[in-house]
């Protein structure tokens, strides 16, 4: 049974349709690549699934109901004036997590030093990106929504994040990964969707939606 089902989901901003009659399903323990040009509706799709935006029409279903959601947006969702640990401690408290080792583990898992006392505002874009990813997975989400997780990362860091994603998928999590850098998903994506003008232009196994959409 799919973890997530979208049926004819549309999202209008005034007269502009960011999503039009979008219908897909996502199975548990699978990694989905979400591709498309700027303005194709990818981020809107993730925001609707995350519950941050309401669909104008259509149906969104989770089975089982109310899965734990992890969401990483374009923006870091972090506070510049706090350190990595202080940021994660705050977000962990929102989820009722108080185990310090878990926070340290989350920071270390993305290749950062948990003892680093620098404020996040002084981090490089790449470090901020990795910490944002640690924040998104802190509460062990069942469904992980990642919007451009590879942006600002050097090739080695991007490869490490790809490996992490693969591990999360193997551990049973469902991942929806929006990216313009499809090469990073080439070996780990189970399925892909290509959006064009707010519609599902193509879908297929691996990252084949890209080539199917181009044909």
């Amino acid at each position: 049974m799919p973890l997530l089902t979208l049926e004819n989901v549309s999202k209008l901003f005034g007269r502009f349709a960011a999503l039009r009659n979008f219908s897909v399903t996502a199975d548990p323990g699978r990694l989905y690549g979400v591709f498309g040009e700027n303005g194709a509706g990818k981020s809107t799709l993730l925001r609707i699934i995350a519950g941050l935006a309401r669909p104008t029409a259509g149906t969104l279903r989770f089975s089982p109901a109310g899965p734990r959601l992890g969401y990483m947006a374009h923006a870091s969702m972090l506070y510049d004036e706090l350190s990595a640990m202080e940021n994660l401690r705050y977000f962990a408290s929102l989820c009722g997590i108080r185990d310090k080792r878990r926070l340290e583990g989350a920071i270390a898992s993305v290749g950062l030093d948990p003892s680093l006392e620098r404020r996040v505002g002084d981090y490089s874009q790449g470090m901020r990106q990795r910490l944002a990813l640690a924040r998104a997975v802190l509460h062990d989400p069942e469904l992980l929504l990642l919007d451009e997780p590879f942006s600002n990362l050097d090739p080695d860091s991007a490869a490490a994040i790809s490996k992490l994603m693969s591990g999360w998928r193997d551990a049973g999590k469902t991942l929806l990964v929006v990216t313009h850098q499809a090469a990073h998903l080439q070996t780990i994506a189970d399925h892909s969707w290509l959006l064009r003008g707010g519609e599902l232009a193509a879908q297929g196994t691996g990252i084949s939606a890209l080539s199917a959409g181009a044909a």
């Binding site: 935006a53 309401r54 004036e81 706090l82 705050y90 989820c95």
Partner: protein, 244 residues
């Protein structure tokens, strides 16, 4: 299985396992985070302090009141200065949540919305109270006031009056978050609704400073105002937080 369609609120239905986070714990976390952010940046405190000091100095030179006049007008001047200054802290505390979309992280966390509101309101109460502790003595000096009697009552006016400002301010600052001119919108929304409380603060403060009247009625009004508006803001805040 959970389903929703069209205009139904999604955010309310996607509560993850973190819904067990208690109101008190999340309020304390949010308050601690806001205090730490302000301590490090001092954005709100510096702006408020600078503005309030300007008001004290300008009013003092503009009016040059006699001792008698000073006792009559200071109540109004003090509270107008604190009302205007508080909007700076209120705007700043919510602007931080938007800067890197941190507010979205709160929205999907499933943590109680009331905790965010209370954390913000208490945080701003502390900031404005700190400002009052610094600026109020300056009013005493510049306007040559004596508070021989009624210091306890005056403290209550400050506590209840400040809460009246920040509880509505925290709510309307959140309401105006997604508007284009949110810094302009906050005073437009906050000032009219604060007028009854402002009148009570001014009358109670003037009553204490002049000694001609009792501040009891003003204090009672402020207490009722605080209870009513705290209740209303708490009951509506979740809707405001999850509005698009």
């Amino acid at each position: 299985m959970m389903e929703h369609a069209g205009e139904k609120t999604v955010a309310m239905q996607l509560r993850p396992a973190s819904s067990s986070a208690s109101l008190v714990r999340t309020t304390i976390s949010t308050l601690g985070k806001d205090l730490r952010l302000e301590w490090r940046s001092k954005d709100a405190l510096n702006a408020m302090l600078f503005f309030a000091l300007l008001v004290v100095v300008i009013f003092s030179f503009a009016f040059e009141p006699t001792a008698e006049e000073a006792r009559r007008i200071t109540g109004g001047l003090v509270w107008v200065a604190f009302l205007f200054s508080s909007t700076m802290a209120l705007n700043q505390s919510w602007a931080r949540e938007l800067r890197h979309q941190s507010l979205d992280a709160f929205r999907i966390s499933g943590a109680p919305a009331d905790a965010l509101f209370l954390g913000k309101a208490i945080g701003n109460f502390i900031f404005v109270a700190l400002l009052e502790a610094i600026v109020a003595p300056l009013f005493v000096v510049f306007f040559n006031l004596t508070i021989a009697q009624g210091a306890g009552a005056l403290l209550w006016v400050f506590v209840l009056g400040t809460w009246a400002l920040v509880v509505n301010g925290a709510f309307f600052a959140a309401l105006s978050l997604r508007t284009r001119s949110r810094e302009l919108m906050l005073p437009l929304l906050l000032f009219p609704i604060s007028i009854p409380a402002l009148l009570a603060m001014v009358s109670a403060t003037s009553a204490i400073l002049t000694g001609e009247d009792s501040p009891t009625l003003g204090l009672q009004f402020l207490a009722v105002y605080d209870i009513v508006f705290t209740t209303v803001c708490l009951s509506l805040f979740e809707t405001v937080l999850h509005a698009e």
